[in-house]
């Protein structure tokens, strides 16, 4: 480390399932340069102070979605958050809120993965076409209706921002509903009625009380809160109109 490095204190919420009853905070003094991210700060700690510090990362460029943490209590991607913006104050990093902590900064995402699967995140063709009939065509307008909801990188920061998910872990939650909406809005897809069963269920959109913080923290401007709330209206329509339509939604 060269002389002109400043030192920042990083407070880390540590939890080792093999030895700790509950998480505790530990402080590390980390020399840093202006181009160092919070993720690099954690890597410095792992390399120099405690090799057992556990956290997830991959791309280091805000695209893989694996490095989410609470940074001073706010859900952020640690690879695009810079230590210089917190210096000279102490910075606190914790595992993403509302998820069970597996170890240190790593959370248990298995529930989220199940939810992603449950929304049928693939196109279920409205009118299946044979090879001879050629590709499914889509106009730019049709494309624009869902493109925003394809930008999700599954970082789950929105879940860390959602108190309703914290209060009810069964809530399908922002990102999964945003992805569900993405397929519902795709002109090639015809499975909105199938997905309605989940949307309108007790695990569905009505867990949301429009806190709106999920959209605030989303690093990709997916606006999951919008997807959730549009689907409240859809589910309410389905609730009241299901008796009129032969197909209806769920029972």
């Amino acid at each position: 480390m060269s002389e002109n490095h400043k030192i920042i204190e990083i407070e880390v919420l540590r939890y080792n399932p093999e030895s700790d009853d509950e998480p505790h905070l530990e402080v590390y003094k980390v020399p840093f340069s202006d181009d160092m991210s919070v993720l690099q700060g954690a890597q410095y700690i792992k390399d120099n102070f405690d090799g057992s510090l556990t956290f997830r990362w991959s791309c280091r460029m805000a695209i893989c979605g694996s490095c989410g943490m609470m940074i001073n209590g706010i859900p952020k991607l640690s690879c695009e958050t810079f230590l210089r913006d917190y210096y000279p104050s102490r910075i606190r990093i914790e595992a993403m809120a509302n998820f069970p902590i597996e170890k240190d900064l790593v959370v248990d995402l298995s529930g989220f993965i199940e939810k992603l699967e449950s929304i049928q995140p693939y196109i279920i063709a409205k009118e299946p076409r044979t090879l001879e009939q050629g590709e499914y065509l889509q106009t730019p307008e049709e494309f624009n209706r869902y493109i925003q909801f394809t930008s999700c990188i599954n970082c789950t920061l929105c879940y860390a921002a959602c108190p309703q998910f914290g209060l009810n872990p069964d809530f399908i939650g922002p990102a999964a509903i945003a992805l569900l909406h993405r397929y519902n809005m795709d002109s090639r897809d015809g499975a909105a009625a199938q997905r309605m069963e989940l949307v309108a269920s007790e695990e569905g959109v009505f867990n949301c009380s429009a806190v709106g913080y999920c959209s605030e923290v989303c690093p990709k401007h997916v606006d999951p809160a919008n997807a959730v709330n549009i689907n409240k209206t859809n589910a309410a329509k389905d609730y009241f109109l299901r008796f009129l339509s032969p197909k209806g939604g769920s029972k």
Partner: protein, 123 residues
């Protein structure tokens, strides 16, 4: 695959009332408070006797006036009941059935009382 055993939520009923009441109170709440609670009692700005008995009686007997009074009282309360019930849950008071009864029950009772009085007031 879809999960098995999903139960349809009955929230749309309460959510619908909540939304309608929230919108009505956002649009009309401040001006109504100003008229009934400040301007008329203090004799500010508005004509004298703006809420005199004959005028209010006529208003409550008029179909539009009747509907307006009913919508304001009932929807304001359904909106508030829904929000308060959720906030109780959010701050960790899971009083369950009790809280539900107090919140939605008082909105329901008030709706019935308002409807009854408005009917008795005649057309």
């Amino acid at each position: 695959m879809m999960k098995a055993g999903l139960k349809r939520s009955n929230a749309p009923i309460f959510w619908g009332l909540f939304g309608a009441g929230g919108m009505l109170s956002a649009l009309f709440g401040p001006v109504l408070v100003f008229i009934t609670g400040i301007a008329v009692p203090l004799g500010l700005l508005l004509p004298k006797g703006a809420m005199s008995y004959p005028k209010m009686q006529a208003f409550a007997q008029n179909f539009i006036g009747k509907s307006f009074i009913f919508a304001v009282i009932a929807l304001f309360l359904w909106f508030a009941a829904h929000r308060i019930f959720h906030s109780l849950h959010e701050i960790g008071i899971h009083a369950g059935l009790g809280a539900k009864l107090i919140c939605y029950g008082s909105a329901f009772a008030s709706t019935v009382i308002a409807a009854y009085v408005l009917l008795v007031l005649g057309f």
